[in-house]
Amino acid sequence: MAVELSVGLIAIGSGLAVGLSALAAGIAEKEIGAAAIGAIAEKDEMFGKGLIFTVIPETLVIFGLVVAILILGLAG
């Protein structure tokens, strides 16, 4: 089925919004996660703090998701 160019571009824009922000979060959490696991290996009590530090960059993805939904919503 053929769709208009604008619809396709909107879809691409939405996808890029989520995809790129997820990539950014992955890169950010990569180092933090590795360090967190190192800390936990030495001291078990660090598990909670380590986990929280690791997931702090999740906000990047959430913003990306919100933008994606807004794009889809505003475009109708």
């Binding site: 009590e45 598990f47 909670g48 986990l51 929280i52 997931v55 999740e58 906000t59 959430i62 913003f63 998701l65 919100v66």
Partner: protein
């Protein structure tokens, strides 16, 4: 339920001659959590009891026997009859026997390896008919043994040697690709022969293991084979003997290890006490419900000659925590232990997790069929691995919740209708995405506020109303402000935006007063934490989508009929198994993460010491 067991601090002090009695009684009572004494100006730590050295010696022997005999830890019902003396005696005897057996085994294996080497050399000499005793040093003969490159070299060699002398004997045999030769020649021509051999690429071999052997190689090979069989038999016999010893003494050794560990624990206990020349001092914590019983027992055993002082837990104390939860919530202590124990004064979130964890899990997995499969799986696993019973109970409860949500979504292995019968449902996951989104965010708002309320109560108890209002109350004001702003800007209610902004600014001020600038920086976090709950919808959606795709693919194959039905069934099986594994992992992990990060960060501090009483086994 929301608080750990109540604890009292206890101080026991008395003369050194009563120390051992008190230690024995405390070990029997199994209720004192000892606070270790650090060496200070006032008092040093105590000396271990006299039996420590002997006990350590014997336990080392017992443990080395356990390792040598390859005994595994298991439940056993062996009863020790006469205590320390019996253990010592039996251990010595067993040690001697085991050592004797291992020594014999070592000798046999040494001989076997030597035979292996000899075999290798004999195989090379097999096809040369020279008796082995001829390979020795002579006064008038020299001999060379080694490899040549090819068969032609033999004829060349013979020719060249004949030019020097006629007194030589050359033997050769071809092994795989190389030619092996043994040359006996007049010692006068030794050097010339060396040169000739070097020219044609001769690689010498020394035979080190055939000294003392007589006769030809083949006969010796057979002799060694026979000897090897005998040695293997002997080695097997010794191994069986060791096996038998292991079986016979298994119970004894394990029980002895246990018994000695307990005795050692008692003997080394004084290292945790404070001690002066003539007195000892024990500091610790006892659950309030056991306090009076403990005091009366200690007084009885010491004939009231020890002094016991007890107080309630004070604010600054580092009180050990023993979680108190009813049977149905107790498995969830597994999650709390995994993270960190709540401080003595804090709310114990185990009950909260019992309420919300299965709901989140079920929300995400949400399939009637998957729920049943996972329930059966965890039930079966619980039987096989009793140690993980807590975790499996949690997972079984969560699977039951999944079944319940499967009814709500009307999903059975991803199918929303069987044949032409549409399964009744409240929400359809694949079609009602927006509704699910709003429900997830609603759950998020409820859960986060639940956490904030718990945090409010925690700070209220510890620091008073002021702190609580400014640290946690400010968040509520912030939420009211955002609510008003949203309502006024979306024109749902007739309210000027100013009110919303007012609330917002007030909350900022309160937050700054309560937590300082780092509190204000955290303001966007309320948005991200709430939106984080969108994963409830996202993971559920992905699970459903994969199931629907798998079903559609299989349906395509079924329609083709015939042989294709087989591949259809295969696709169904593989697809749904993968989806179940994915769903279980995802739901488990993300429900847990929502609790640990979004929920706990609102109120949980943690870091308390675990209550481990003296004398209790782990």
């Amino acid at each position: 339920m929301l608080k750990p067991y109540e604890m009292n601090s206890i101080l026991i002090t008395g003369p050194k001659n009563l120390q051992e009695k008190i230690i024995k009684e405390l070990h029997k009572l199994k209720i004192l959590h000892i606070v270790e004494h650090l060496k200070s100006e006032l008092a040093d730590i105590g000396q271990p009891l006299e039996t420590t050295n002997k006990l350590s010696e014997i336990i080392v022997k017992v443990r080395s026997l356990i390792t040598a005999l390859g005994i595994k830890q298991e439940k056993n019902k062996f009863e020790l009859k006469r205590g320390l003396l019996e253990i010592n005696h039996t251990t010595k005897k067993l040690n001697e026997e085991v050592n004797k057996n291992f020594e014999e085994l070592r000798k046999v294996e040494e001989q076997l390896s030597k035979n292996q080497n000899t075999n290798q050399e004999l195989r090379i000499l097999k096809n040369i008919g020279v008796p082995l005793e001829n390979f020795t040093s002579y006064k008038s003969l020299a001999y060379f043994t080694g490899y040549l490159e090819g068969k032609n070299d033999i004829t060349n060699l013979e020719k060249e040697l004949s030019e020097i002398t006629k007194n030589f004997m050359l033997f050769d045999s071809t092994l795989k690709k190389q030619t092996f030769m043994a040359l006996f020649i007049d010692i006068k021509n030794k050097e010339n022969t060396s040169n000739i051999l070097q020219k044609i690429g001769f690689t010498p071999i020394n035979f080190t293991n055939i000294g003392g052997l007589k006769g030809n190689a083949v006969a010796n090979l057979e002799k060694i084979e026979r000897q090897n069989t005998m040695l293997m038999d002997k080695s097997n016999k010794i191994k069986k003997q060791i096996e038998k010893l292991a079986q016979e003494y298994k119970g004894f050794l394990l029980t002895a290890d246990d018994f000695l560990s307990q005795e050692l624990e008692k003997a080394e206990a004084p290292l945790k006490f404070a001690a002066t020349k003539d007195a000892f001092l024990i500091k610790g914590w006892v659950p309030t419900e056991n306090l009076n019983n403990a005091i009366s027992k200690l007084n009885k055993i010491s004939k009231d000659k020890v002094f016991i002082h007890h107080e309630d837990a004070k604010k600054e104390d580092n009180v050990p925590v023993k979680l108190d939860n009813k049977g149905y919530a107790k498995p969830f202590e597994f999650f709390i232990n995994l993270y960190s124990l709540p401080k003595y004064k804090e709310i114990d979130p185990t009950f909260f997790m019992f309420l919300t964890y299965p709901i989140f899990f079920g929300f995400m997995l949400g399939d009637f069929g998957y729920g049943i499969v996972s329930f059966a799986l965890f039930y079966f696993l619980k039987k096989k691995i009793p140690k993980g019973a807590a975790l499996f109970n949690i997972l079984m409860l969560s699977s039951a919740a999944s079944i319940f949500f499967g009814f709500i979504y009307g999903e059975f292995f991803g199918l929303e209708e069987i044949g032409h019968f549409a399964i009744p449902h409240l929400i359809s996951r694949s079609h009602g995405v927006t509704e699910l989104m709003f429900i997830s965010i609603a759950i998020g708002i409820i859960h986060v506020n639940w956490g904030l309320i718990a945090g409010f109560v925690n700070i209220l108890k510890e620091h008073g109303l002021n702190h609580a209002l400014f640290e946690k109350g400010s968040w509520f004001v912030l939420e009211i402000g955002i609510l008003f702003l949203l309502l006024s800007y979306l024109n749902i209610i007739e309210i000027i935006p100013l009110i919303g902004w007012l609330f917002f600014i007030v909350s900022l001020i309160m937050l700054y007063k309560g937590e300082g600038i780092k509190g204000v920086i955290e303001i966007p976090s309320i948005l991200t934490n709430t939106l984080s709950y969108l994963r409830l919808m996202a993971i559920g959606l992905s699970s459903v989508s994969i199931a629907v795709v798998v079903n559609d693919m299989a349906a395509g194959f079924f329609h083709k009929g015939g042989f294709m039905i087989l591949s259809g069934i295969l696709i169904l099986l593989v697809g749904h198994v993968l989806n179940i594994v994915l769903g279980l992992f995802g739901s488990f992990l993300h429900s847990l993460r929502l609790h640990y990060v979004e929920f706990f960060s609102k109120f949980f501090e943690g870091g308390a010491e675990k209550y481990s009483p003296f004398g209790a086994k782990e």
